[in-house]
């Protein structure tokens, strides 16, 4: 059960613009944003991070989704993993790429670029961290400094969101839960928390 109740969207007309945009992207308003909304400045900051790191075309949507999903899954953060896998306006990756993250090193489904991205995600999600110089050096084959800033920013933002939802045990909404249960079998995803 959630440790902090989300607010009722109907009680937040002053945040309608932000929440409408989130709904357009996801197809629903995640409960995480309805707990962040308890502090409007905190919701606004996360909305600004979404504009800086998620919306737009500065890195390909496939890269964005793989990084956000791969890091969250490796981080054991099933709430965000379900969100970033579920169909939405910015989630173009085929199911076999989402399902096979744990076998990315050997699976023919992945490109070398995707393997390098997932290596960084996995190393950054270890405790303690296992990130080394070669993780970023490998990514320079495909990405410049500006794009690397976006990729690292995405991981850091998901560290924020993963931690927020881990502490509050935010309830995973029905739509992404149903998708994850039906589609992410074998990926390592489980729905034990966030009920």
């Amino acid at each position: 059960m959630a440790r902090l109740a989300p607010l009722n969207r109907a009680d937040l007309p002053h945040l309608a613009e932000v929440l409408d945009e989130i709904e357009q992207d996801h197809g629903y308003v995640p409960n995480s944003f309805l707990t962040l909304a308890r502090d409007p400045a905190l919701l606004d900051a996360n909305h600004a991070l979404a504009h800086a790191l998620w919306y737009g075309q500065r890195i390909a949507p496939e890269v964005r989704q793989l990084v956000a999903f791969g890091f969250s899954l490796c981080n054991g953060a099933m709430y965000s993993a379900a969100h970033t896998a579920a169909p939405g306006a910015d989630t173009p990756l085929p199911l076999e790429v989402l399902r096979g993250v744990r076998d990315a090193e050997t699976s023919p489904v992945y490109s070398e670029q995707q393997r390098a991205l997932l290596r960084l995600c996995r190393a950054a999600a270890r405790f303690p961290s296992e990130v080394k110089d070669n993780h970023l050096a490998a990514l320079r084959t495909w990405f410049d400094d500006q794009q690397l800033v976006q990729i690292v920013g995405l991981i850091a933002w998901h560290a924020f969101l993963n931690t927020w939802n881990g502490i509050w045990n935010t309830r995973l909404e029905d739509k992404p839960r149903a998708f994850a249960q039906a589609s992410l079998a074998g990926s390592g995803w489980h729905g034990q928390a966030h009920q």
């Binding site: 059960m1 440790r3 902090l4 308890r38 502090d39 400045a41 905190l42 606004d44 900051a45 996360n46 600004a48 991070l49 504009h51 800086a52 790191l53 981080n75 054991g76 953060a77 960084l120 950054a124 999600a125 270890r126 405790f127 303690p128 961290s129 990130v131 110089d133 993780h135 970023l136 050096a137 400094d145 500006q146 690397l148 800033v149 976006q150 690292v152 920013g153 991981i155 850091a156 933002w157 560290a159 924020f160 969101l161 993963n162 931690t163 927020w164 881990g166 502490i167 509050w168 045990n169």
Partner: protein, 193 residues
């Protein structure tokens, strides 16, 4: 050596207000923000996050420093641990508590509210998370909802910064580096390679 280079402060006059706010608050501009400044939308968003998650006076300064230092220390991120501990004694977090951070369950230096904070920090720093209902319920005995939300927000803000600095390999600035070399090594802090 950082894996993505920071930009020089002199090349970023458009962010001078933000940087001066940092100097006024902690005495220097962290290199982390000079790397984020490579992306104008990102530095603006992180500025908004800092305004929401660092500057409000929702909890006392010693509690703010205890939360941010402990979570970073328990996460194994020396860059942020040094930032959050440097200057903390002058703001009311005694050096004895900093040095006893790993003994919080048994040390008589900490009261029950601080123990509850440190338990949450410790469990939130684990991967996967080890936070339980009991951890959050214990904090509710000592803090109201806005304070508890702010404590969690501080942890999440540090989760962002810790991950950023860990991946980027940000160089610790001279002031906190010298301070940490002198004071933090007894708790396991080590200078970067």
């Amino acid at each position: 050596m950082p894996r993505i280079d920071p930009l020089p402060r002199s090349a970023l006059p458009q962010y001078e207000d933000i940087f001066q706010g940092m100097v006024d608050s902690i005495g220097y501009v962290p290199n982390s923000f000079l790397t984020m400044a490579r992306d104008p939308l990102l530095i603006k968003a992180v500025g908004a996050l800092s305004d929401a998650a660092w500057y409000p006076k929702t909890v006392s300064e010693p509690v703010r420093r205890l939360v941010t230092f402990a979570f970073s220390q328990f996460s194994g991120v020396g860059y942020s641990a040094a930032h959050c501990a440097c200057g903390a004694p002058e703001l009311g977090l005694p050096m004895e508590k900093i040095l006893a951070i790993h003994d919080y369950e048994s040390s008589s230096l900490f009261d029950e509210a601080e123990r509850a904070i440190l338990r949450l920090c410790r469990h939130a720093a684990r991967i996967p998370s080890e936070v339980t209902d009991a951890d959050v319920n214990a904090l509710k005995q000592h803090f109201d909802t806005p304070q508890l939300m702010f404590i969690v927000t501080l942890i999440c803000y540090m989760a962002f910064l810790n991950k950023w600095n860990d991946i980027v390999g940000t160089t610790l600035e001279a002031v906190p580096d010298a301070w940490a070399r002198e004071h933090l090594q007894p708790v396991g802090w080590r200078p970067a390679d």
